[in-house]
C-alpha cells in the first residue's frame, strides 16, 4: 500500500488538500484529510506538491520495433514515468509499421512490463503509404482507438474521406467506444524538400522551407471531411496561427474535432535553426514567434485540447548530419511538465487538464487515466513539485537518445513521484526499475 500525505490534490473535479491511499490491487482506496498511515504502507510526503491524475501523452515515438538503438518501449516508458506520464500513445511509424495485428500485439506485449501504459495507435493506411486502408476493425478489436499515419499525412482526399467514413462504423469491434483518426497535417507537394519553416529565417539561412499553408490546407480539408462524415478527427502537433484559428472555428461549429500542441511549438521558434544544429529540426517545423503566441492562445482558450510531446528520439550519429540530411524530431517526455509550467501563463489546473484528463479522453483511456482522484479509480497518479527548479540536459534523460533541444535551459516544475497501476515507478525523481 502507499499513502501520499499532505499534497494538494487537483483533478477535473477540483482542488483540495488531502491524503491519498493506494491499495495493493492498484486502485485508489481512500482520499481525505489526515488519514492514518495503514500498517506497512509506503509513506510519501507530498507537502508543497500537487497530486494529480497521471499524464497522458497522445504522441510518442518509441522506435520499437525497428530502431531499438534510438529508443525502446522500455526506455521510452521509463522517461515517460519520470515525466509524470502514466500512459503514452505510441506512434505507428516503426519498422515494421504498426499496421497489422501482429505488430500491434508485439507492442502491447512489450508494453505490458513497461513503467507506464503503452497505448498503441495504428496506421490508417497499410505501410503508411497512403494507398490502402489498414485492417481498422481488426486493430480496433485489439484495443486501438487512435489511427494515424503520423510522420506523414494521408495525402489522397478520397482515401481520407473513406477512412473517416469507415471509422464511424467500428462500434462492433470496440464495444461501442469511438475511434479517432489523428492527422499529421502536411500537404507534401508543398512541403517536399522543406527542412524548416519557410520564411525569413529559411530565406536567410538557405535551408529549404516548408510553408505554413502546407499544414493549414490539410487542417482545412480534414475539417471539411469531418463535417461531411461526422467522424472524429484529432489534429496532431498544430504549429501555425491559422491552423489554430481553423480549429477554433470548427469547434464553434460543433464539429467533433480535437487538437494537440507540442511543448516545442509553444517554446521555440525557427530562429533556433540559425545554429544549423539538427536538434532543432522537427516536423512540423518550429515556426515564428507569432505562431508560438497563437498556439499559446489556443491552449489558453481550449481550442487546443492537449499538450503532446511528439517525443522523437534519434541516435547521435543520425543527428550528426547536415541540417537537411538529419531526421526530424526531438525528445520531449521528461521536459514537458517543466516547460508547460514555465512557458504557459495558465492556472495549474488548466495545465493539468492539457496534460492529463483531456488527452486521456481523446485517447479513449479515460476509464483508467486522467480520472478524478477518488476511491475506486485506478491508481495512476503524478506527484509534482511546481516550484522545483532544474536544468534540462539530454544526457541525464532515460531515453536511449539525447536529442534534446532545451539543453541547459532552466525550468520550474518537476515530477517527484509517479504511481502507475498502484506501483511506485518513480520516487523522488528516480525511476525504480
Amino acid at each position: 500500500m502507499i499513502i501520499i500525505k499532505n499534497g494538494r490534490v487537483i483533478d477535473a473535479t477540483g482542488d483540495r488538500t488531502a491524503d491519498v491511499i493506494v491499495d495493493d490491487a492498484g486502485a485508489i482506496a481512500e482520499v481525505g484529510a489526515d488519514l492514518a498511515t495503514p500498517a506497512g504502507a509506503t509513506e510519501l510526503d507530498a507537502a508543497g506538491c500537487i497530486v494529480a491524475p497521471g499524464f497522458v501523452d497522445l504522441h510518442a515515438h518509441l522506435r520499437q520495433p525497428g530502431r531499438e538503438d534510438a529508443e525502446t518501449i522500455e526506455t521510452g516508458a521509463r522517461g515517460a514515468a519520470l515525466g509524470g506520464f502514466t500512459a503514452i500513445v505510441a506512434m505507428p511509424n516503426t519498422a515494421p509499421c504498426m499496421d497489422s495485428a501482429a505488430v500491434i500485439r508485439e507492442v502491447l506485449d512489450l508494453g505490458a512490463t513497461a513503467m507506464c501504459e503503452v497505448v498503441p495507435s495504428a496506421a490508417i493506411t497499410v505501410g503508411r503509404d497512403g494507398e490502402a486502408l489498414s485492417p481498422m476493425a481488426e486493430l480496433a478489436g485489439l484495443g486501438v482507438r487512435i489511427f494515424t499515419d503520423d510522420g506523414t499525412g494521408v495525402q489522397d482526399d478520397r482515401l481520407m474521406k473513406r477512412a473517416l467514413e469507415y471509422s464511424v462504423g467500428l462500434a462492433p469491434a470496440t464495444g461501442g467506444a469511438p475511434v479517432t483518426l489523428a492527422q499529421h497535417c502536411e500537404v507534401t507537394s508543398l512541403s517536399a524538400g522543406g527542412c524548416m519553416h519557410e520564411g525569413e529565417w529559411s530565406s536567410k539561412l538557405g535551408i529549404p522551407g516548408q510553408p505554413a499553408e502546407a499544414e493549414e490546407l490539410m487542417v482545412q480539408r480534414d475539417i471539411a471531411l469531418s463535417r461531411a462524415t461526422g467522424a472524429r478527427v484529432h489534429f496532431q502537433h498544430m504549429s501555425t496561427g491559422r491552423s489554430v484559428q481553423l480549429i477554433r472555428d470548427a469547434k464553434a461549429e460543433g464539429l467533433p474535432v480535437t487538437a494537440e500542441a507540442t511543448t516545442h511549438h509553444f517554446t521555440l521558434t525557427d530562429a533556433e535553426c540559425a545554429s544549423y544544429d539538427p536538434v532543432f529540426k522537427v516536423h512540423p517545423p518550429l515556426r515564428t514567434e507569432a505562431d508560438v503566441q497563437a498556439v499559446k492562445r489556443g491552449l489558453a482558450d481550449g481550442t487546443i485540447d492537449a499538450i503532446a510531446t511528439d517525443h522523437a528520439p534519434h541516435t547521435q550519429s543520425d543527428k550528426e548530419l547536415p541540417f537537411d540530411q538529419a531526421p526530424p524530431g526531438m525528445l520531449g517526455l521528461e521536459s514537458a511538465l517543466g516547460l508547460a509550467l514555465t512557458e504557459l501563463d495558465l492556472d495549474i489546473a488548466q495545465i493539468l487538464a492539457l496534460l492529463s484528463w483531456n488527452p486521456a479522453r481523446i485517447a479513449g483511456i479515460d476509464d483508467r487515466h486522467g480520472g478524478p482522484i477518488e476511491p475506486g479509480r485506478r491508481a495512476n497518479i503524478a506527484v509534482l513539485d511546481p516550484d522545483h527548479e532544474w536544468t534540462i540536459t539530454g544526457e541525464a534523460m532515460a531515453s536511449r537518445s539525447a536529442n534534446c533541444p532545451y539543453e541547459g535551459k532552466t525550468v520550474k516544475g518537476k515530477v517527484r513521484h509517479t504511481v502507475y497501476e498502484g506501483e511506485l515507478v518513480v520516487i523522488d525523481q528516480e525511476a525504480q526499475r
Binding site: 530565406s203 538557405g206 550519429s317 550528426e320 547536415p322 540530411q325
Partner: protein, 311 residues
Amino acid sequence: MKHLLTLDDLGADGVREILDLTDTFVEVSERQIPRVPALRGKTVAWLFYEDSTRTRLSFETAAKRLSADTLNFSVSSSSVKKGESLRDTVETVSAMGVDAMVVRHSSAGAPHRIAGWTDASVINAGDGRHAHPTQALLDCFTLRSNLQSFEGRHIAIVGDIKHSRVARSDVRAFTMLGAEVTLVAPQTLLPPCLDGWPVKVSHDLDSVLPTVDALYLLRMQKERMTEALIPSLREYSAGYGLDLARAAQLPQHAVVLHPGPMNRGVEITGEVADLPRTVVLDQVRNGIAVRMAVLYLLLGSGVDLTTTGAQ
C-alpha cells in the same frame, strides 16, 4: 579569425582587409615564379562533397602559390559511398594533421557543423543555397578594380536568387561595403521572404539596366523548369537574358559579372559574353589571389611576403 563560414565572420573591415591583401597576391601572381613560402609546412585539405571544378582548381592553385601542402579527400568517390558519417570523415581528416579544410557541400550549414568537430580552420567553399564567401570576395575585388568604390554604386543581381549561395553572399558583401542592390528575377526565383534583406526587387530588367554600375548574372539551371518555377528557358531568356540590345542600355562604364559556368544563350548571349565589359575571366583570375589572401589570413599571418618561394 579561425574560420571563414560566412562574410559575417569578417565584417566590412575584414572584407576590406582581404581586398587590400588581395592586391599583394595579385602582384605575387604576376611574378615570373608566382610562389611565396608563406604557408610552407601547412597542410590544406579539400573536402568537396559536391562537384566543383573551378572553385577547387582556384583554391588548389592559391594553396600551391603559398607553398602549402594539399591533401585531397575525394569524398564523393570514397567514404560517403562506404557509409561513413560526416563527423567521422572530418575527424579522420583532422587526425591527419591538417591546418585548414576547404569544404564544399550541398547542404546549407554543413561547414558550420564541421567547424564544431575539428581544430583546423574551416573555409566554406559553398554550402547549399546558403553562402559562398570567397566567391563574394572575388566579386568584390573585381568590382572594386572596375568601379573603385562601392559607396553609392548600384548593382543588380539577376536570375535564380532563390537557390543561389552566390547571391546570398554577394548581397551581404555588396551592401556591407555600401552599394545599393536590386534583385531582378521572376517571383518564383526569389527567396520566399526578403524581410531584413537591404535590397530592392524588380521584375523588369529593362527598366533597371540604365541605372546600374554593375550587372551580376546568375547561372540559370535547366532543372528549374521541371520544378515549375519558370515556364521555359526561352521565356526566361526573353525576360531576363542579357543580349546585345539590352547590353546597349547599360551605362558606358557598367560591367557584367557571372560566377560561371555560363549558359550562353540562356542568361547571357555569346556576343555579350565576349564583350570587353564582361569581366568573367578577371573574376577567375582574381579568385586565385583572393583565396591566397584568405588562406594567408587564416593560416599564415605575419609571414614575410617579400621573399620568393623559388629557392
